[in-house]
Symmetry: C2
Subunit: 280 residues, 2 copies
């Protein structure tokens, strides 16, 4: 411990945007700095709560919690949880909080956490029932929303493959609403290697594709499955479609040509997750 | 027609942000002006194409098409369709296009259209099989995404009830990716009246609610259904939950507490739409 109590000391001047520890934390809004430090920022009450639970229950690490006066008053229970987890809490000014935020409406509560992604061999292994693979997904909000959907559906893991966005990006963390700390997360630069690792773990690979012959309502879900989704604008590359076990199309019953990535992923992953439990 | 050919006249100076017709169109980025004029802006190739198809096939009205030089070169086929539909096309500067856009990346092609919503009695009537009702939905991007999902699932209608956002908002139009012109759309300020109109049309009303007793995988979908979704932050109000025929919860198989509005709506509406077609 560093001499900080879990509640900001009464009368202690809050850190400003020029305080060295805030300056260091602010650098974590950049991907290269996150990689170098092995740390990222989890902003907002949802994300901070999930980070602290992850630290208390699953061996995750929260290095520090920054909180504005207003947020401290709103989130007393979270600060108590931080104390329980042995996490130093530092008061910051509103302006310092703005600098640590990558979103339009800073929430005034930000945790500095150890990166959550893990080596692929500890994530993709036999026994996994449901895995989500994102290939070249560019928008951090989309990636975060899909991680949240994967968590809700009980996925064992999320793989960020190819040129996909860093899951520790602030907009991704925010969109994941705490779920970044739930499924196991791994990053695999080589897409073919990612698909091979899924197959080796006993997962059938299904690629979502708007022009596939097989429609989602014709697929049986009696095997462990890795769902593979492509870039928002371009979908899955040809070579990936040639590699997956089956390409699957969401049926279009109306006149829309397609769905966006997050809603398409939600439909595919939940149709799969609900199949064995369905009342029919 | 007004003397404009469907392709901008070679050598004609494009309209600027100060040209009266562009100034008048720019006012349509405000809700009150849209209501007064009975017109709205459909920006981007997807939306413009859907607007023109709507005009050619379903009696919709496109009053005018504004296009930058660059967008005109990219979308020659769309300009030909505009000519076929008898829609005047006016060249505009990039700066004028910026002023007509409510999005970060203006696409340089914007149609001035008649509002698409219709009186409720022409929209909610016996024979409808699938309807989506949004109650107090605040974010236009969410509303547009749900309209796109409803279209893809073959919904007959989308009802914007209570304090919901104007579906003609530029961000909603963009997120709907053309689908704003597909399902019938109506706005009903009084939520109880909206639910009564659904019931009178023979629809069973299902309210999505995170704490409902009935889970989605236990629901049978052998009747026409109106899905009712609430505000992003607060969900459905108590009095609405007391009024719907059944409250339904999406099962949470992992540790996420909830899903966002668009992904929740996608899962509910598609589970319903696929049920009668499912291969089991």
């Amino acid at each position: 411990m560093t001499g900080y109590s879990a509640l900001p000391r009464p009368g202690a001047a809050p850190f400003t945007e020029r305080t060295p520890r805030v300056v260091a934390a602010r650098k974590l809004t950049r991907r290269a700095e996150r990689e170098k430090a092995g740390r990222f920022l989890a902003e907002g009450a949802n994300a901070v709560e999930a980070a602290l639970t992850h630290a208390l229950e699953d061996g995750g690490t929260v290095h520090e919690l920054f909180v504005t006066e207003r947020a401290a008053a709103q989130h007393e229970r979270l600060l108590a949880t931080a104390r329980e987890a042995g996490v130093p809490v530092s008061p910051i000014t509103d302006r310092a909080a703005d600098g640590l935020s990558e979103t339009v409406t800073p929430q005034g509560i930000v945790a500095v956490c150890a990166l959550v992604d893990r080596p692929q061999e500890t994530v993709l292994k036999p026994g996994a029932k449901l895995v989500v693979v994102l290939v070249d997904v560019a928008d951090p909000g989309n990636a975060g929303t899909v991680i949240r959907v994967a968590d809700a559906a009980g996925a064992d893991a999320v793989v960020l493959a190819g040129d996909s966005v860093d899951p520790h990006n602030g907009k991704c963390v925010r969109a994941a609403a705490g779920s970044l700390f739930h499924p196991a997360i791994t990053r695999i630069r080589d897409v073919d290697a990612a698909l091979k690792a899924c197959s080796a773990a006993g997962l059938r690979t299904l690629g979502a594709h708007g022009y596939a012959d097989t429609e989602l309502d014709q697929v049986s879900f009696d095997e462990p499955i890795a769902w593979v989704f492509g870039n928002e604008a371009h979908g899955l590359p040809e070579h990936v479609l040639g590699t997956v076990d089956l390409a699957v199309k969401i049926p279009m019953y109306g006149r829309a040509e397609s769905l966006n990535l997050a809603t398409a992923a939600a439909i595919c992953v939940y149709t799969d997750a609900m199949a064995p439990r369905r009342n029919r």
